[in-house]
């Protein structure tokens, strides 16, 4: 933050970095080879919906946009913390296509001026023995971290750290472990 901003008590809304998302398919190949993790074909974008008509309009645009693709099922839901989740499910499990869909959602929101309100994008994976894992993309950091929930309020840290070790060079992973925040009770993973 710049000195003048501190002096005058201003914060600049942080703009999201949307392009790292396209590195996910190659990272998914690595995860499949190393840890037998497969994409579930489901991904979700989470944002804090601002009050007012503009936000409601942007949400209408989104649903219009995504109903164009026949293979994608889109649902919009609200979680207990007041964040909105746009969940895309592809029946054909096509990860590159899913990433393109999610990117379209992000671009639509950012173009409508809600870039600073974007929280994260989560892409769901599952292991051969049924464990769930979400790759969480933090817009503001431009980094990805794994989140593996096991039941209520518990996470499989071992699996998460294995994933981080495997991802290494494919995609920028979040180095600060204190920012690997849990997202319980969400549509994905």
């Amino acid at each position: 933050m710049r000195f003048l901003d501190v002096l005058l008590g201003r914060t600049r809304p942080v703009q999201p970095n949307l392009d790292v998302l396209f590195a996910v398919p190659s990272a998914a190949d690595t995860l499949h080879a190393a840890l037998d993790l497969r994409p579930t074909g489901t991904g979700a974008v989470c944002f804090k919906q601002p009050e007012g008509a503009a936000a409601a309009g942007a949400r209408g645009d989104l649903t219009d946009l995504l109903t164009l693709s026949p293979d994608t099922r889109v649902t919009v839901s609200r979680d207990e913390y007041g964040y909105t989740w746009v969940t895309c499910t592809r029946t054909d499990h096509d990860l590159p296509a899913l990433v393109t869909d999610l990117h379209a959602v992000n671009i639509t929101l950012a173009d409508a001026g809600f870039g600073p309100a974007l929280l994260c994008t989560v892409i769901g994976f599952t292991t051969g023995d049924g464990r769930r894992l979400g790759l969480v993309y933090l817009f503001k950091r431009g980094t990805v971290y794994p989140f593996a929930p096991t039941g209520a309020q518990r996470r499989d840290t071992t699996l998460e750290l294995q994933v981080r070790a495997e991802l290494g060079a494919d995609i920028p992973t979040e180095p600060d472990l204190s920012r690997w925040f849990p997202i319980w009770g969400t549509p994905v993973p």
């Binding site: 501190v6 008590g9 201003r10 914060t11 970095n17 804090k48 309100a117 503001k140 925040f181 849990p182």
Partner: protein, 301 residues
């Protein structure tokens, strides 16, 4: 990437805050100049005042937490509160502060700590009990904005010379009353200098006091604004404000008195009935002004 946001910058607020900071600086420069001209050994006073403020700055988190009876809570002890703060920090791209809960029914929240890395956000159980999730979001975003704006550091630096001037004025007054009488003949010159220093310090103290209060009010408005932009819901913050300030007057007086020293870091000050008396002297802007600002933001959406 081009900046896309629906919020226009509040130039008026920036300009007023800039002017206040400038005037404060001007008062201090003049004060230091007068001190240097009038007396040679001010080192002791500077060291004492500087030491006090440095300690206050350095231990601000522990002092405030201890005074409010706040205890730090882990994610396992308060999962919802942690989840709310986690998400807001991810939205604002800032490091997560420590989280504390104070066991008092006074509905309030404060943020303290010298850097964003060492910050603490503390909420009272009274606040958690009264507010809806969206309102709590707004209050926490307001407190996180205080941390992002480094308000503890700014206010400490801003009040440094004011405190120093207050000390000099008091010191001069006492030493003048105690030792001034007998020596008037030998060094009348010295007494005159001492009187002048005391007078100047008193004026500097009074002026800087008013300016610091103004600065504090502007920073509250700035934090309101940044918090509302972060959550995108100015109305929720406004509703939290009315709820909290409406209930402040009904709190038992014992709590009010013990809490008053920490008003500077509070979400709304615990002033009770006399709030209307001294807008000029208060650390927080009046509720009506804060609500008006938030309504303007709400219309921009």
């Amino acid at each position: 990437m081009a900046t896309r946001t629906r919020f226009a910058p509040d130039r008026q607020l920036s300009a007023r805050m800039g002017l206040t900071v400038f005037l404060l600086g001007l008062v201090y420069v003049a004060f230091v100049a007068v001190l240097i001209v009038l007396i040679k050994s001010i080192a002791a006073v500077v060291v004492i005042a500087g030491g006090l403020l440095l300690a206050q700055y350095w231990f601000s988190d522990r002092i405030a937490l201890y005074a409010m009876g706040g205890r730090e809570v882990t994610a396992a002890q308060a999962p919802e509160l942690h989840a709310v703060i986690d998400r807001l920090c991810a939205l604002a791209d800032m490091p997560k502060p420590r989280v504390a809960i104070a066991d008092t029914d006074l509905p309030n929240a404060f943020a303290t700590g010298r850097t964003p890395q060492r910050a603490v956000v503390c909420v009272t159980t009274g606040l958690l009990r009264r507010l809806e999730p969206a309102e709590l979001d707004g209050v926490l975003a307001h407190e996180l904005s205080h941390i992002a704006h480094r308000d503890v550091a700014v206010m400490t630096v801003a009040s440094f010379l004011g405190v120093l001037a207050g000390l000099v004025a008091r010191f001069g007054l006492y030493s003048g009353m105690l030792g001034g009488r007998g020596r008037r003949n030998q060094d009348g010159n010295l007494v005159a200098v001492a009187l002048l220093v005391t007078g100047v310090s008193a004026v500097v103290y009074a002026v800087s006091f008013l300016l610091i209060r103004a600065l504090s009010r502007y920073r509250e408005l700035a934090a309101d604004r940044a918090g509302a932009i972060l959550t995108g819901q100015p109305a929720a913050l406004a509703s939290a404000l009315t709820k909290v300030s409406g209930q402040m007057a009904r709190i038992p007086t014992r709590d009010l008195r013990t809490a008053q020293a920490f008003n500077a870091f509070f979400f709304t000050p615990a002033l009770g009935q006399h709030a209307s008396l001294a807008t000029l002297l208060s650390t927080h802007p009046p509720l009506q002004q804060r609500l008006d600002r938030l309504a303007t933001l709400s219309r921009q959406l």
